[in-house]
Assembly symmetry: C2
Homo-oligomer: 389 residues x 2
């Protein structure tokens, strides 16, 4: 009568009265709080949207897995056409080996003998690329690769306006790349940058996008004039993902947050609330103060990240009451101002909250729940959480 994909269902109880088998599914109501929920239909739509875009514009897609930190979801991204996966640290690369990616990009200047030994161990299992912005980082990498008899791909990181890592795209970039080309054990594969400064939601966004495009073209041009080709030109950032094809010369994108989206993504204009796959289920634990309720999740559950590019001090959107103001948190307490709410809440009621920044929230949860409607379809260990080194 019913066809069940049993491997994907969490069953809390099986009873066999007479000839019938009753499977009791685990639902939203069985979960203790706080719990991080992933709406699988929304997640699949988000994954397909960006995969289709990359395919349409012939862009390499190398999703940043720091958002989900779950090998099974990395595999899903590969199945949808990603050419490889991106990680932030070697510890994340070790975890993401389980996704059997043909390529792992460590998008971070990785320094120190202990980390480099681990990079080489990862590189014995799959192809490894690293982005970096100095010969101080490249030289020990080169030495370690040579000693291990391995070749590591390298992307030179330049600053397209973010002002974080990355050399200036003129002479300093040329000097870096010429230095990289002298080093054994590594192969220069192209350029990387992170355009996190672009705010598409304000009028300045389009202008900054044009400036980034000019900087990228100039960087590629500088190298070309010295006979250096850039097979890969890799850009990051979810808020700008649908503008990637507008940036001259870019042929690779590595968005992360797009798999779930969050309040920051909505605020950036890159998605709507209906595209937010992740929410955190909480319980009201106190209503003792007038016009206020306390949720059983604070900075240990959501992180204390404020809304990006906003002066607003709020920590999430309550699905059940958008007029409620989640304005303050301690480690275990979420303070919600109900002054403008259209309804009241009782102790013990459950409320879902869309977090400001889902990547750092994922990092705080040991496991998360893949939901099909109210049914728990998957329980995922967040294997890459808490990986600092």
């Amino acid at each position: 009568m019913f066809r069940l994909r049993a491997a994907e269902l969490e069953v809390s109880r099986i009873s066999v009265p007479g000839a019938y088998i009753t499977l009791v599914l685990v639902t939203l109501h069985d979960l203790d709080t706080p719990a991080l929920l992933i709406d699988l239909d929304i997640m699949e739509r988000n994954l397909a949207r960006v995969a289709d875009y990359a395919h349409q514009h012939q862009l390499r897609l190398r999703p940043h897995t720091k958002t989900h930190k779950i090998p099974a979801l990395g595999q899903r991204q590969l199945a949808l056409g990603a050419v490889g996966l991106t990680v932030a640290k070697v510890s994340e690369a070790e975890v993401m080996l389980a996704a059997a990616s043909p390529d792992l990009l460590i998008a971070y200047p990785t320094f120190g003998a202990a980390k480099l030994a681990r990079v080489m161990e990862v590189a014995r299992h799959t192809r490894v690329t690293m982005s970096l912005d100095s010969l101080d980082v490249a030289r020990p990498l080169s030495a370690a690769a040579q000693a291990a008899g391995l070749t590591i791909g390298v992307l030179a990181e330049f600053d397209a306006g973010m002002g974080r890592v990355g050399v200036d795209g003129g002479e300093p970039l040329l000097a870096l790349v010429q230095g990289l080309e002298q080093l054994p054990g590594i192969t220069f594969e192209g350029l990387a940058f992170y355009p996190g400064q672009i705010k598409m939601m304000d009028q300045e966004g389009a202008a900054e996008l044009r400036r980034v495009s000019e900087r990228v073209a100039a960087a590629i041009g500088t190298l070309a004039r010295h006979g250096i080709a850039c097979p890969v030109v890799s850009a990051g950032s979810t808020p700008t993902w649908m503008h990637t094809h507008e940036v001259t010369g870019v042929n690779e994108m590595r968005p992360g947050t797009y798999i779930f989206n969050d309040r920051n993504t909505v605020n950036s204009g890159a998605c709507g609330w209906q595209d937010c796959a992740a929410s955190i289920l909480t319980t009201v634990v106190s209503t003792a103060r007038p016009h206020q309720m306390i949720l059983d999740g604070g900075s240990k559950t959501f992180s204390s990240d404020r809304l990006a590019n906003s002066s607003e001090v709020t920590f999430g959107k309550l699905v059940e009451e958008p007029a409620a103001l989640f304005h303050k948190m301690n480690e275990e307490h979420g303070f919600v101002d109900l002054t403008h709410a259209t309804r009241q809440f009782r102790v013990g009621e459950r409320v879902r909250v869309i977090p400001n920044h889902v990547c750092v929230a994922m990092n705080l949860h040991e496991q998360v729940y893949g939901m099909r409607g109210e049914t728990v379809e998957s329980v995922w260990q967040v294997a890459g959480r808490g990986k600092l080194q």
Copy 2:
């Protein structure tokens, strides 16, 4: 020649050339970054200072273990005279059972059948007390305790001005306590409050301390007029710990942060920099932008907590260069402005940072290192990290 407490030393290599045994100690320089370091001499001084104060003023000391989350340190607090330990969630209570405390105070209104079953399991091993502020929380607790054949101690939480959890100290407190006294399976043991709103560093602090004292006296008085005694009156907060004896009627303190202290504690005036036991060792990974360096730790390493009670947007103090400004972070990047620095830094250099808020930083580290000078004397698993429920 040397007497070694071998159980407390981490040894990286033992070689036996001829008749000599060479023990190579693990030092600061062997640790990969980012790493959270605890200066054991400072920690012991901090522990002794508060234990001595509690003893001198005949105050019960029930330290909040949410700061360290390590059973061995809970044991140390008990050895110095603590009457019990405080935790924030039942999951932390489960972890802290390993400290063999005669008493665990769950200082949080704990709701839901799953959590209550776990509370009862903890209560089979040690005495459990819970602070709460509603009969909606107390009734299911009472039912669960009665069903389990156990008795749980209860502290009624009232609001001494913080505006978080806690009922008003007048009629609502009386109604709560009278309700508690009717419930089987639980025993009313007294009052709890958290005076987190007191800012001793400004002139308002002393006035607010007096107001808190008046509110506490009024709450105790209201209950006394109805023949209700409060064997325990329990106050929290590290910034105000040395003022606990000034608050009328309080006979118990449950500070947490005092074991390590942090930038918030210094800012509150409750300690100096020389009392900060915890720092985070990081590596400079990029100096590509002028007057800036990037550290290999951001919000995943420090948390994104800003300095409390300050409009300053900074995330820690650099031990090696106090004039450097740690003004921005992403998940893996710490942005340090060196405009006013007296020295420059190279890629690969290591820098220690005193975090704004050590409790949330501890929650992000799987293990931390107890240091005696530059030697690693203890490696502790942070057993209570990431406990959300």
